[in-house]
């Protein structure tokens, strides 16, 4: 246990330093843009306490964190197998489209069947889409980065044509009809007065009802636990990590590298696809092409979350909340350009990557292992 604590401590140093460095850089940029950095900080703190107060902020942070947990886990599983899945966008889109379609078609089912069906189709859709890249890598040697990027464009084209074509709801917008009430995930907060009656809610007093934070966050937490068990407790996870660290040795030991590659991509895609439970079942209640594309773009931040979280489920949960908090800060900045948040996120990524490398070298020089 002492070793474990030691490892966690060592592994959290680079992200913590990176965060600190990014904050300082952020303040410098704010100053360079002609604002008083400390004044801005004070304004943010004041703005955070306005209207609904910190409850509001907490709910928003968790809302923004939910898809980042899914996509962060997705990237991490692929990373652990030595694969770089940057096709989260496509996987989220395809999964959302299928989830929206099934939720719409199963409107007459009871919730106890409709909800699992929609969750399953979201996972399967993402899995199948990512497995294409895995299979091409395993059988044809195509690089997964190229393939997943290409598949992103394919996914945009497919969802676009279906949401504008055969599956289109009535009206001008490229979207599918609303999913059945049975397939909706409840919001965590209470119903805000005057909102549409179609949104179920759990009514936890802590969360304000106007925030779209919904039960998919529990699915995200379960997914994180599942990834931890998979990676560190199962034989499949052992094989996956072996392939990620040393594919040659894994192959020589009789592990089928091809099978691990395909299944790791499929699991990675399934995790990304589960983000549809948030987008379609918890927020939009249908698949809408333009919103969907905007939502799916967030998958790229999942790469940063995974890096920041050191490809570990616990780290990813923390990193997702951090990135959610940065996102929320963007809305509280007042007259300071919101772009500062993107700069901050980019800076964190750069500092984490270079920090990991430098810190790793420093430890290696000192003969310390993590």
């Amino acid at each position: 246990m002492r070793r474990l604590g030691h490892t966690i401590l060592l592994r959290s140093i680079p992200p913590a330093l990176a965060l600190g460095a990014a904050m300082i850089l952020g303040l410098v940029i704010v100053a360079a843009a002609g604002h008083n950095p400390f004044g801005v900080m004070r304004n943010v703190v004041e703005a955070a306490q306005r209207s609904y107060g910190l409850r509001d902020d907490l709910a928003y942070v968790l809302l923004y964190a939910t898809p980042l947990i899914f996509t962060g886990l997705s990237v991490a599983v692929a990373f652990r197998a030595g694969l770089f899945n940057i096709g989260g966008l496509g996987q989220v889109l395809i999964a959302s489209l299928l989830c929206g379609y099934v939720g719409w078609k199963l409107a007459s089912w009871p919730a106890i069947f409709a909800v699992p069906a929609c969750i399953t189709i979201a996972a399967l859709g993402g899995a199948a889409w990512a497995a294409i890249a895995g299979a091409l890598k395993a059988w044809r040697g195509s690089h997964e980065v190229i393939i997943t990027i290409m598949l992103n464009f394919c996914a945009i084209a497919i969802t676009d044509s279906l949401a504008n074509g055969p599956w289109k709801a009535q009206g001008m917008t490229p979207q599918l009809p609303e999913i059945g009430a049975c397939a909706k995930l409840p919001r965590l907060g209470a119903h805000p007065p005057g909102t549409e009656a179609g949104a179920p809610a759990i009514g936890i007093p802590l969360f304000p009802g106007h925030v779209q934070l919904n039960a998919s966050i529990f699915i995200a937490l379960l997914a994180a636990a599942g990834v931890w068990v998979l990676l560190f407790k199962t034989v499949r996870g052992y094989e996956l990590r072996a392939v990620g660290h040393n594919p040659e040795a894994a192959r020589a030991a009789g592990i089928s590298v091809n099978r691990v590659t395909i299944s790791a991509m499929a699991i990675s895609g399934a995790l990304a696809g589960l983000a549809a439970t948030d987008f379609v079942m918890g927020k939009n209640y249908n698949f809408r092409q333009d919103d969907g594309l905007g939502y799916a773009r967030g998958a790229f931040i999942g790469i940063a979350v995974s890096l920041m979280g050191q490809n570990h489920p616990v780290g990813i949960l923390l990193a997702a909340i951090l990135f959610g908090a940065m996102e929320r800060t963007g809305f509280l900045l007042g007259d300071v350009p919101k772009d500062i948040v993107m700069i901050l996120q980019a800076a964190v990524i750069l500092f984490v990557i270079s920090g990991n490398e430098l810190f790793g070298r420093m430890l290696a020089r000192k003969g310390v292992t993590t």
């Binding site: 660290h245 040393n246 894994a250 020589a252 003969g367 292992t369």
Partner: protein, 510 residues
């Protein structure tokens, strides 16, 4: 401890000292690499620096070459004390180093490689005629036969090494440090290297030979210095000590140089290879029977690696058949081979034998991790794994005896012991051991050889591939020599001599 501390030979007092390193300490945060190490080399002698892996030879030489600064102690080169430590100052002081892994540009010619970084010019152009002339001149002067216009990639390894030596000489080196120079050479090339060293000595150059091979020490050096655990244990005139004595000084206890083994009692055929052909190997036909060790000798790169890949399912054979225990496995992958009873100590342990980032426990079940005792409904049985690992670590004396550390933190010898522990624990019908003692300490070599022999005595068929002739001669009951992808000859253990094998290795007929 009864270890003899040898007094400096009287004659060396009358000679000028090329190198004098006294009381050298070098600490890294968790390791003491050198403590009170000393080395005295007289001008014009060939001095062997011997010691096990991790004894501090490389660190001491890196200090001399200026790559590290010592924490304490003084270094004198040609009587002048070194105050700053950098390769530039060392090179200026006349130190040159021939690395174990050559630093040559394969696509350039010999002459271009030798003058790289100090090219003769004709106006703004590279004067290749002048470079070739200079190199040819040096080549005759030092008796290092090379063709200046040949491309380095087309040269045999032994000649590439000569190019490396020329490169160092071209930079004015008076003291040449050679790091494990014979590791990649054929017996014939080794002889030529010895001749080169003698020639260098005759030309007044000083040579420091880093090695852990005792035969090499005896054959090539005038004097020797032994390091153990970072400190100098003793120094001696080579002619006055036996190999056993040197080994004892290196290890700190008496070492059995001969492997104790009874005559083989070969049983039924286990591995049968018939007309096997694949890229880089074949056609090859041979058989390994239960209870015998068949050694495959040969200079590296003559098809051994390819053959091993065919015999473990990593490479598909195009023509011919291979069968283990009567099961045809010509087109099967590694898992089928393991199921049929294979265990393999791979030739590259970093690449194929271990997952460095995994713990020792995880590595000790790698490949066996799907056996029923280690799995329960898809979950790893951590307790069973750890119990197995702890047992193996103890039985095979893997140090540190700690199963939760990452495998990459172990020394090479202990990594190798861990691999052998794992493979032997499969209770194989066929054990393939590829270079099982490469980079392994003398003490561990003895242990590994015993383990291999005991597998044979248990009734396993053993195929031993090694480029170390002494290992083949010590262990094999039958010797096959590979040359250019084929079996160039077969010798019974009784008739196998180093000379005969050497002839076959070089591609000649007996």
């Amino acid at each position: 401890m009864p270890s003899v501390v040898f007094r400096r030979a009287a004659w060396s007092r009358h000679l000028n000292l090329a190198i004098e390193m006294v009381g050298i300490d070098k600490r890294f945060p968790r390791v003491v690499a050198n403590s009170a190490a000393s080395l005295t080399v007289a001008e014009g002698e060939i001095h062997a620096l011997v010691g096990e892996n991790g004894a501090g030879k490389s660190t001491l030489m890196k200090i001399l070459y200026g790559l590290y600064a010592p924490d304490a102690g003084t270094v004198r080169v040609m009587g002048k004390e070194m105050r700053t430590f950098s390769p530039a100052t060392s090179i200026a002081a006349g130190i040159g180093m021939v690395h174990q892994h050559f630093m040559l540009v394969p696509t350039l010619t010999v002459a271009e490689n030798v003058v790289l970084g100090m090219e003769p010019r004709f106006g703004p152009w590279f004067d290749s005629a002048q470079a070739e002339h200079e190199v040819a001149e040096m080549s005759t002067r030092f008796g290092l036969a090379v063709e200046p216009r040949a491309k380095v990639e087309s040269l045999p390894v032994g000649v590439q090494q000569r190019v490396e030596i020329l490169k160092v000489l071209a930079r004015g080196a008076k003291v040449l440090i050679l790091d494990e120079p014979t590791a990649v050479l054929t017996p014939g090339e080794i002889e030529e290297l010895y001749a080169t060293l003698a020639k260098l000595k005759a030309e007044g150059r000083t040579v420091v030979l880093i090695t852990h091979k005792l035969k090499e020490v005896k054959a090539a050096s005038d004097r020797l210095t032994v390091l153990r655990r970072g400190a100098t244990v003793g120094t001696a005139v080579t002619a006055e000590v036996t190999e056993e004595k040197i080994a004892e000084m290196m290890v700190g206890r008496a070492v059995a140089m001969k492997v104790d083994k009874k005559t083989a009692k070969p049983g039924d055929g286990v591995l049968s290879v018939k007309g096997l052909q694949a890229a880089g190997v074949g056609p090859v036909t041979f058989e390994v029977r239960a209870g015998e060790i068949v050694g495959i000798a040969g200079v590296e790169g003559n098809g051994q690696s390819e053959l091993l890949e065919c015999l473990s399912g990593l490479r598909a054979s195009r023509i011919g058949s291979v069968a283990l225990g009567g099961i045809d496995l010509s087109r099967s992958g590694p898992s089928a081979w393991f199921k049929a009873g294979l265990a393999i100590i791979p030739e590259d342990r970093q690449k194929r034998g271990l997952v460095g980032e995994f713990t020792v426990a995880d590595n000790l079940v790698l490949g066996r991790h799907r056996e029923a005792r280690f799995v329960k409904r898809g979950f790893v049985r951590a307790a069973a794994r750890d119990a197995e690992a702890a047992g193996l670590v103890k039985k095979f004396d893997v140090r540190p005896a700690e199963i939760a550390v990452e495998a990459q933190t172990l020394s090479g010898g202990n990594q190798q012991k861990a691999i052998i522990a794992r493979e032997v624990s499969r209770q194989p019908r066929l054990l393939i051991a590829a270079h099982p003692t490469r980079g392994v300490d003398i003490g561990a070599i003895e242990f590994i050889h015993k383990a291999i022999v005991s597998e044979r005595d248990r009734g396993a068929a053993v195929l031993l591939v090694s480029s170390e002739l002494s290992e083949i001669l010590a262990l094999a009951d039958r010797v096959l020599v590979m040359y250019a992808g084929q079996v160039a000859g077969e010798l019974k253990s009784a008739e196998a001599t180093e000379k005969k094998i050497g002839v076959l290795m070089a591609g000649a007929k007996l």
